[in-house]
Symmetry: C2
Subunit: 414 residues, 2 copies
């Protein structure tokens, strides 16, 4: 069913990984630069995001305006984001426009102007985004949950902090760009109608002579964990619950994935059924797996009215704890049917695949075809997942709530 | 580039329109039932949404649980929504599972149980969703904008009102279902790997003997328009601005589309450039076209900090008014490049296409291929758009703001 995957490691460390899909007319790329927010200095939280914003304001032969005009002229649907580990640039367009788009992004990575006359407009944009989160309690509770659940600095939000963004100057941004935008640790994932050999040649010409720098290690502080309530005037309460899991690279990853799928994959999954359908307790409830390279976590969210918040918390925690008792074959069968269908649809999207092959490489040092993923999922059994759950029961929860009242934590869950 | 479109009108009025895409492995459907919220009785705002929620709680031979289990077993990625004109059910799955999925949805449309023992859980779900909007000011401001800009009941939000949802009983829901779920006005759009003749036979067997009912006309009240401020404790201000446009079925539609594209399509478009990039005034700004069958509207949003709200409003309104002075060829060329790329990506998604062919039929009584859309867009010229803008300048704005302070309206814009 799926296309083969090609990869090449350039001498400077840059990885190119591509999945040619001749039946498509589009091509998409995802560029991961090793410039994540874990590298923000302690008093400059948000510097990575601010740097990313500034890299889009002119690079190489293009000023800020020309950069935007050229990408629009090429029909590139683009997005950027900063995660704990990467600054990521993605784009999708007609296959014939891919080379011209990569040429522009090579400049973003190597020759950004970081212009002084746009510093304040960039800063205002960053501050606006930070303030916007204050008005989105569902997003805020999940940011706080991740911040408290992961060992610092891994849970740090890329949005940064008000004072740090106010204080950051052009020197900070140029220094961050110089140190963290480099080929070692960079991964370019491509999917769509591309010819592998021509693509490899092109990327070699654009980025083959990019000079590698030093990689920096991260000093880890223990996680805060526990329960924290943030008072918030509203008739709604936002609940976030997290517990630890294994990372994506772990040999048992698909067992962990299967367990969280039974909890929260599809309408028939346990959380949706027990919390929303049967009891009508909340308007939204889910659990999702998230991974760093060395650890993972399960992050649950429930949004509910304040007067039903305690019951929602109790029922949701109850389902998480009950998961350790195991999953059943029919639950797993449904999950497999759902995922099979979603893999086919993923295969039909060049954007989704360009991001998956890059993500895989970061975590595994190789990229899986969708056929391989399908085989790994086919091989799952309830017995295997239950053995995993016995060893890794959901426990030691981190809980964050946002709403008018603090909630009571049931005994033994923290 | 694109696939031909087949359509069939069954004797009972049901329309089937399908775009077979043999290169895909998935198939998607969008079912529009003529059960929009404009048909909610005046004291039962939200009844259409409540009815939709209840149709998913058991139909035909399946109870609520079995319905969800069967769809998950078929790998159907589903969603439902209620708009002013339709209750819509969408799904995408492996092509071979499409017939089984349609069989289930035929029961949702014709034989929903609307079970008494799930009424309260359904009601709680509806109320939770209504309350959640209160915590999402960006969504709230756009709902209020539409409510005030369109003649009533066309701008009515499908979420409904607290008291109406509290008061609605099972009799209301059954009556709404009986009157508005019917073949006359129903459209089933399909895209993906399907065989047209077999699909037509299947749909004929499932829905060909569905009995048509009467169609109901809508009594229209004048729009409220003007400026309305909603006080909201926050350091952010949400701004919504609307003005009237022609409907999708109008021969000049693509001129109107081109004008709003120059305003807000892509990063190089005017609103993003002037409001966000140059001035850093806000974290998000856009304008989008929306259509009813007989009228259309342009709806703009800007989210900003309270202290920059007045300037943001002034600059945004200034750009809207300035649009009447016309667009330039290079702006239109970029828009064409962007849309060409996005049409190709749309063609690669069976879900997007199943919804487009159904949408087209509702508005036009036929469905356009992507080739036809591309030709219409290629034919656009700045001269043509400017002639349109001279006749239809943005004016008579409806404005809604949500934040700590009321704003001052510049002269002559309301």
């Amino acid at each position: 069913m799926t296309a083969p995957i090609h990869s090449h490691i350039f001498p400077n460390g840059l990885v190119l990984v591509a999945e040619p899909r001749p039946s498509l007319k589009s091509a998409a790329f995802t560029f991961l630069a090793p410039a994540g927010c874990v590298h923000d200095p302690a008093d400059r939280s948000g510097l990575s995001g601010f740097t990313c914003e500034m890299t889009l304001r002119g690079a190489g032969s293009r000023d800020s305006r020309q950069f935007i005009l050229d990408l629009d002229n090429l029909g590139v649907e683009r997005s950027e984001s900063v995660s704990y580990a990467h600054t990521s640039y993605s784009g999708a367009t007609l296959a014939e426009n891919l080379p011209a788009a990569l040429l522009i992004y090579a400049d973003v990575l190597r020759n950004a102007h970081l212009p002084e006359d746009q510093l304040e407009a960039g800063r205002l944009g960053m501050l606006q985004e930070l303030h916007a989160v204050e008005d989105e309690p569902a997003q805020k509770v999940m940011l706080e949950l991740r911040r408290r659940h992961y060992p610092m600095p891994w849970g740090r939000p890329a949005q940064g902090e008000e004072k740090a963004l106010q204080d950051a100057n052009l020197g900070d941004i140029r220094e961050y760009y110089r140190r963290h935008f480099q080929p070692k640790g960079s991964i370019l994932g491509v999917s769509g109608r591309v010819d592998w050999e021509s693509l490899k040649d092109l990327v070699g010409r654009l980025l083959g002579d990019w000079t590698p720098g030093a990689t920096e290690s991260i000093e880890e502080q223990p996680a805060v964990g526990n329960y924290k309530h943030f008072p918030y005037e509203s008739n709604q309460t936002q609940i976030g619950i997290a517990y630890s899991s294994i990372p994506y690279r772990h040999p048992d990853y698909f067992q962990a994935w299967g367990a969280v799928g039974v909890l929260s994959g599809g309408m028939s999954a346990r959380l949706f059924t027990e919390v929303r359908e049967r009891r009508g307790l909340c308007y939204s409830v889910f659990a999702m797996y998230h991974t760093l390279r060395h650890i993972g976590g399960i992050f649950c969210y429930a949004g509910t009215s304040a007067d039903r918040a305690q019951e929602t918390l109790n029922v949701t925690l109850g389902e998480l704890v009950r998961l350790a008792e195991g999953v059943e074959d029919h639950e797993l069968d449904r999950l497999k049917a759902r995922i099979k269908s979603s893999l086919v649809m993923q295969q039909e999207s060049s954007s989704a695949r360009s991001s998956s092959v890059a993500f895989d490489w970061y975590h595994l040092g190789r990229s899986r075809t969708l056929d391989e993923v399908e085989q790994l999922i086919d091989a799952l059994s309830a017995r295997g997942i239950n053995a995993y759950l016995k060893e890794h029961p959901p426990q030691d929860f981190t809980v964050v709530t946002l709403g008018p009242h603090q909630l009571e934590m049931p005994d033994g869950v923290l």
